[in-house]
């Protein structure tokens, strides 16, 4: 084995690959080849670094250099300057968003400072297509230990003691779930990994599968041993081709090493894993829907009980956890429940991965201990609000979650606190909004998602959410009345109260939380036909200030619908009936004569 002096880690997550990180890796290899350095410097395509905002990322070790927005043509300079001459390429270094100064050591980046990486421990660190790298990081030790030294009951109680809760949304204690599946006697049981991440704006599961697929395989095998299952199924979105590819490679390699298959570690434990593809239905994140989908049917949820632990895939006891939940398991076994449960808050143990997005400077994937405050996440790790604007709200938990305000910024994040604040942890989407975001529109956006993703099985979700969406639409158009807000509230409560599955039950959360936290903004829409954030097009008026207008006709010439009239050198006028609010006139006017009201 070559004794490499330097490792060039190139982010091969989907985000960075979208910006050609593949060719960066290739061209780095080529440049090293040209300089006869292939024996000394290793190029590794890793999983996601999390810092997607500034991708593609190249990290150089051991000196912890963090290059951002790298282009394939930069590889010449990286090799010539950094690799050969040992000089960092200044212009590619990550720069502190506030001070604008380059940061020479990645460990000094705010983005990484507050993070503790358990689920993401190997992401951006190992080559996910090489099982050896996983083994070198203690991979499959947990499985080995479990098979050698622990009874099935031991494993379950270890998971119970760790306090690990499901990371997919509900936060149900994982150990308890395993226990149910363990206790239901059957000739056949299944371990299912829910990798049908559908939350718009959350992509941690994919990052884990792309960056550390073996962690999930190992955890599923551990679960299989604990509950008494010899078959595992990963239900993964077909839209995740890279994750699928890496999973396939990983499964293959694990089989070759005998870490999957028959008689694992020379015991009588057999376990193998297959992939099942989701085909684009958010509701399949719900476990009963997921199971129907795996059985080849419409992914409609069914009433629980019976729970999957009693009657799941093909009617057999089935344990369903999501990717991030499983990714924690090997660490818990290796380091012990005691170690794990020291991290986090009283009722929420460990860490949580969030997909930080929206109007923050550092968009990306982060992993923080439970109990970290929203402020720390948004302002320290996230580097604050973009363009120095004012923070307005943060939406957590995706379409099932709610919008939290300034008042909640110091709330330590955990399952129960978020719930109490009117939102949820969900799968970990975290979208930051600033003063330009209209909260009614945000609620409408999420409702639109729910309407589109509702399976249609139960009437409150199928029709009720549609009606809510229609009403929200009218509010944003200034066509609603104040009494409609009461109706909106009632619809929200009834839909939450009567829907069949979690999707419907939580669909009104974005509405309820914005009604609660931004009531005045709703009122402004219905009483004054005004959008305080200036985001609702129908409520905008473009007007010309006569004093400023010189009659240059620039705006009239630009207007695509001929809504602006006026003679040359005369004050112009915008016909509100015709105006489509495209804003072209504002751009065209050099005299600040066009204003938005």
């Amino acid at each position: 084995m070559a004794n490499y002096k330097m490792h060039l880690l190139v982010c091969g997550g989907t985000g960075c690959r979208a910006s050609a990180s593949d060719s960066i890796g290739e061209s780095l290899k080529q440049k090293l080849e040209e300089n006869n350095l292939r024996e000394e410097v290793q190029v590794i395509m890793t999983g996601c670094f999390g810092f997607c905002e500034q991708g593609p990322i190249v990290k150089i070790l051991p000196d912890n250099t963090f290059y951002t927005q790298v282009k394939p043509e930069d590889s010449e300079e990286i090799v010539q300057e950094h690799v050969i001459k040992g000089r960092q390429v200044e212009r590619l270094l990550y720069k502190d968003p506030e001070k604008g100064e380059p940061i020479h050591d990645a460990r000094k980046m705010d983005f990484y400072k507050k993070q503790i990486r358990i689920a993401l421990r190997n992401c951006g660190f190992i080559d996910p297509e090489n099982i050896d790298e996983y083994i070198a990081r203690d991979g499959y030790f947990a499985l080995g230990t479990v098979l050698k030294d622990m009874s099935r009951e031991d494993v379950i109680s270890e998971i119970k003691e760790s306090g690990l809760r499901g990371r997919g949304g509900g936060g149900f204690p994982a150990g308890l779930k395993w226990d149910f599946a363990y206790k239901n006697e059957s000739d056949q049981k299944y371990v299912v990994c829910n990798a049908d991440e559908g939350d718009p704006g959350a992509f941690m599961d994919r990052s884990i599968l792309e960056g550390d697929p073996h962690a999930v395989l190992e955890a599923m095998a551990i679960c299989g041993y604990a509950i008494g299952a010899d078959k595992g199924l990963i239900y993964i979105r077909a839209e995740y081709p890279l994750a699928i590819k890496r999973l396939k490679i990983a499964i293959d390699q694990a089989r070759q090493y005998g870490l999957l298959g028959e008689g694992i570690f020379s015991t009588d434990f057999n376990f193998d894993i297959q992939l099942r593809y989701g085909a684009g239905a958010f509701v399949c994140g719900e476990e009963t829907a997921l199971i129907h989908s795996m059985e080849g049917d419409r992914g409609e949820p069914t009433f629980k009980p019976p729970f999957p632990a009693e009657s799941g895939y093909l009617g057999k006891p089935t344990n369903v956890n999501n990717v991030e939940t499983y990714a924690n398991v090997p660490v818990i076994i290796n380091k012990g429940a005691g170690w794990y449960s020291k991290i986090g808050t009283e009722k929420s143990k460990g860490t949580k991965v969030f997909a930080l997005a929206g109007k923050v400077n550092n968009v990306g994937l982060i992993e923080v201990p439970m109990g970290t405050t929203l402020r720390e996440v948004i302002f320290e790790i996230g580097g604050g609000i973009k363009e120095g604007k004012k923070f307005k709200a943060v939406q957590t938990g995706g379409p099932s979650g709610g919008c939290l305000t300034e008042d909640h910024l110091d709330t330590p994040i955990d399952f129960d606190n978020l719930l109490a604040a009117g939102s949820i942890m969900g799968s970990g989407g975290m979208v930051v909004m600033d003063e330009d975001d209209c909260m009614v529109s945000v609620a409408k956006f999420f409702l639109e998602f729910t309407v589109e993703e509702s399976c249609g099985k139960c009437s409150p979700c199928r029709i009720g959410n549609k009606r809510m969406h229609e009403l929200l639409e009218r509010i944003t158009q200034g066509k609603a009345e104040k009494k409609d807000l009461q109706r909106l509230k009632n619809m929200s409560h009834v839909i939450a109260d009567t829907s069949l599955c979690g999707l419907g039950q939580t669909a009104p959360s974005p509405v309820l939380s914005t009604l609660q936290n931004f009531w005045d903004e709703y009122v402004a829409h219905v009483e004054d036909q005004r959008c305080p954030a200036g985001a609702c097009k129908e409520l905008m008026r473009y007007e010309i200030i006569p004093e400023n207008c010189v009659g240059c006709t620039a705006c009239a010439r630009k207007c695509p619908v001929g809504a602006i009239t006026g003679e040359r050198k005369q004050v112009h006028y915008i016909d509100q009936e015709k105006c489509i609010k495209c804003g072209a006139c504002v751009e065209a006017c050099k005299f600040d004569a066009v204003i938005i009201k």
Binding site: K5, H7, G86, K148
Partner: protein
């Protein structure tokens, strides 16, 4: 590929593979290890810095010393090249000049292993690339 038949197998395998990620793991917390920077600007390479670096990496591994060896740019001591900077855990960095493989061996044995100073320490009036 040979099957891994037991936890012991796996441990053995891991030990064999450790090197693969050692460099990365140590880079995560370099302050826990001996850090060595080798001046590797063009002049340094010409004066044999590359050989020194190769030697250091090989020797440290053979002698089971966990260290992080990185290359640095011009350290500002062109008169004394090749130069290396050694930082023992929780200590201030020390720079050695005119390092060849023989001196490197001595540095490992005396300074790195036991903390004894050896000849050739240069005064600290340089700027490392990190502080540019």
């Amino acid at each position: 590929m040979a099957k891994i038949k037991s936890l012991e197998d796996l441990k053995k395998k891991k030990e064999d593979l450790q090197k693969k990620v050692d460099l990365r793991e140590r880079a995560d917390q370099p302050e826990h290890f001996v850090q060595i920077k080798v001046g590797m600007a063009t002049s340094g390479i010409a004066s044999g810095a590359k050989e020194v670096m190769d030697f250091l990496m090989e020797a440290l591994e053979k002698r089971n010393i966990e260290a992080v060896v990185t290359q640095a740019g011009d350290m500002g001591y062109s008169y004394a090249e090749p130069t290396i900077e050694v930082t023992r855990p929780d200590e201030e960095p020390v720079v050695f000049g005119y390092v060849d493989t023989k001196r490197a061996d001595e540095i490992i044995e005396k300074y790195i292993k036991r903390g004894e100073l050896v000849d050739g320490i240069l005064p600290q009036n340089y700027r490392t690339i990190d502080e540019e």
